[in-house]
């Protein structure tokens, strides 16, 4: 009986702690509309990292899913696991030479305080790091992209839309 009580207590504590932790983190869920970029009209880098006019974000304690056009010419739904592990998959994608090929993708995410840092790589030599924060109802993304040429940086601001 005592053993059962202790077990129940541990489980309850774990649930409370994890719930509290999850609640402490910002929730990025929602539909977001691009309202501004710095530099103005930031074009991304050769078709990669182009700010998507709309982001649809779904967030659970385990993962964040982003549906957007920022992963190439076509909208994609991309999952970032929040336990720090890699998410790897293959998909037909545009390559640097402008042709389509089966490309390996990899994503990773981690929290830095209230910032959510998302990493995206693919074997077509595209990389992107988004540092996401919410402040006063606005979603800001500090974006860095890497391709064979020079790196690019941009600050993207989104507001809640429908």
């Amino acid at each position: 009986m005592t053993f059962k009580r202790v077990t129940l207590l541990i489980v309850a504590l774990a649930v409370i702690v994890s719930t509290a932790w999850a609640q402490a983190k910002p929730d990025f869920s929602g539909t977001w509309k691009l309202s501004a970029t710095t530099p103005p009209n930031y074009p991304g880098s050769a078709g990669w990292g182009v700010p998507s006019p709309t982001l649809v974000v779904k967030q659970t304690p385990m993962e964040v899913t982003i549906q957007a056009g920022q992963y190439g010419p076509n909208p994609m739904s991309v999952v970032y696991k929040l336990d720090g592990s890699d998410n790897i998959w293959e998909a037909p994608s545009m390559t640097q030479s402008g042709t389509s090929a089966t490309v390996k993708w990899r994503t990773k995410a981690r929290w830095d305080g209230n910032k959510l840092i998302l990493f995206t790589w693919n074997t077509a030599l595209n990389q992107m790091r988004d540092v996401m924060t919410i402040s006063n109802g606005a979603l800001t993304i500090q974006r860095g992209t890497e391709q064979p040429g020079p790196s690019t940086n941009a600050l993207l601001t989104y507001t809640k839309g429908s």
Binding site: T95, S97, R106, G144, E146, P148, P150, S151
Partner: protein, 390 residues
């Protein structure tokens, strides 16, 4: 009317000349290509036309239907130990023309990393004939999510002959034992980049060079547009430079060479089409405009050899910035280059150029009776008695 008559006569003369002299003129052209002369327009300078089948390791490529791709780097430790840094193998088209010479540049598709490069055989060591000595396939996985090794070096002042490999896309620099069996140090953080003032992270580093006491300098690079100075243990000491076009600012500092007395740091500011010169603490001294080198080399005779991304010329500067000699031209035939990315030379006077777009590394042997002042002489390496192996 008179003008038209002369023009027709001139054309008839040219056509007749081509018919009569065609074969010998063609032969003359081939002879010229094999005995190029010095000076402007020179293709191979004081070197012979390279053997297109060097290295034997890659001709033919071991995996049928594939070919080695972009060649980021080459470093000649000796004539019989040459490190090749390959940015992955590429699948050949289903139909390959019979005259295919064996390098990706033939297909005229620019970067030899497309559409997808498989990161295998990224680091190999070959002998003077290009026969494989070592393949460091145990480290291929390091390059899987980047674009492969950017360049490869051994410090000329390191008796233990550690091998350094820069990986720009994954923001790190690796130091391996001489035999490649052990990775002993990683500078930067894998897959994480930092900002310009962050000394613990790189952002797309490109090249390294050393002072005799082991102090080294990193061009960093595509992202952070700065130079970082390290002590011999790999502790970052200081940085200089930011994005811009002014003195001491950079747009893709891609190559770096250190030398002279007192020592100076020569930085290829590729995007700004110049070389900038600094003291070893980053004080701007001067700039040499008009050249945008992918890479540079401080030679044993204290000259800066630069491989120009604009013209594909190999240029010899004295340390005051005067051009003493140049050769080279864009192309994919043997002896020509397409984006020569690292330059190195061995103690026999052989020159090696890795090409990122041409998709090959060429070995240039000196011509008989070559003028030694027009050959590239790499700095002598410290004796290797203490070379570290695992």
């Amino acid at each position: 009317m008179r003008r038209r008559t002369l023009s027709v006569a001139a054309w008839l003369t040219v056509i007749a000349g081509l018919i009569v002299l065609g074969p010998s003129a063609s032969l003359q052209q081939r002879n010229d290509a094999n005995s190029v002369k010095g000076g402007v327009g020179d293709i191979t300078g004081e070197y012979q036309i390279p053997d297109p089948n060097w290295p034997q390791w890659a001709h033919p490529y071991a995996k049928p239907g594939y070919i080695w791709g972009s060649q980021g780097g080459v470093f000649a430790e000796s004539p019989d130990r040459v490190y090749l840094a390959n940015r992955g193998e590429l699948k050949l088209p289903d139909k390959v023309p019979p005259n295919f010479p064996g390098n990706w540049g033939f297909f005229n598709q620019m970067a030899a990393t497309q559409p997808i490069a498989n990161m295998v055989n990224c680091l190999v060591v070959v002998d003077r004939d290009g026969k494989l000595i070592e393949a460091w396939n145990q480290w291929d996985k390091l390059f899987e999510w980047g674009r492969g090794p950017h360049q490869v070096y051994i410090s000329p002042y390191d008796p233990e002959r550690y091998v350094w490999v820069v990986d720009d896309m994954r923001h790190v620099i690796y130091r391996f034992t001489h035999d490649g069996k052990q990775l002993v140090q990683t500078l930067g953080v894998l897959d994480e980049f930092g900002e310009n003032d962050d000394l613990t992270h790189f952002r797309r580093p490109t090249m390294i060079d050393w002072l005799p006491d082991g102090t080294f300098f990193v061009a960093d690079g595509y992202g952070n547009t700065r130079v970082v100075k390290f002590d011999k243990t790999g502790k970052a000491l200081l940085k200089w430079g930011s994005r811009g076009t002014g003195p001491g600012q950079f747009n893709t500092p891609h190559g770096i060479a250190v030398g002279g007395s007192p020592p100076r740091v020569f930085v290829s500011d590729r995007g700004n089409r110049r070389i900038q010169v600094f003291d070893t603490n980053g004080k701007f001294l001067e700039e040499w405009p008009g050249i945008a080198p992918h890479s540079m080399l401080m030679s044993a005779d204290e000259h800066v050899w630069a491989v120009d991304s604009l013209t594909d010329r190999i240029v010899k500067f004295d340390l005051s910035g005067h051009v003493e000699f140049s050769f080279g031209q864009f192309g994919t035939r043997p002896g020509y280059t397409w984006a020569p990315h690292q330059i190195t030379a061995d103690s026999d006077g052989n020159l090696y150029l890795s090409e990122v777009f041409g998709g090959r590394t060429q070995k240039y042997r000196p011509k008989p009776n070559a003028d030694p002042t027009k050959l590239v002489w790499g700095r002598s390496l410290m004796p290797a008695g203490n070379a570290r192996t695992n």
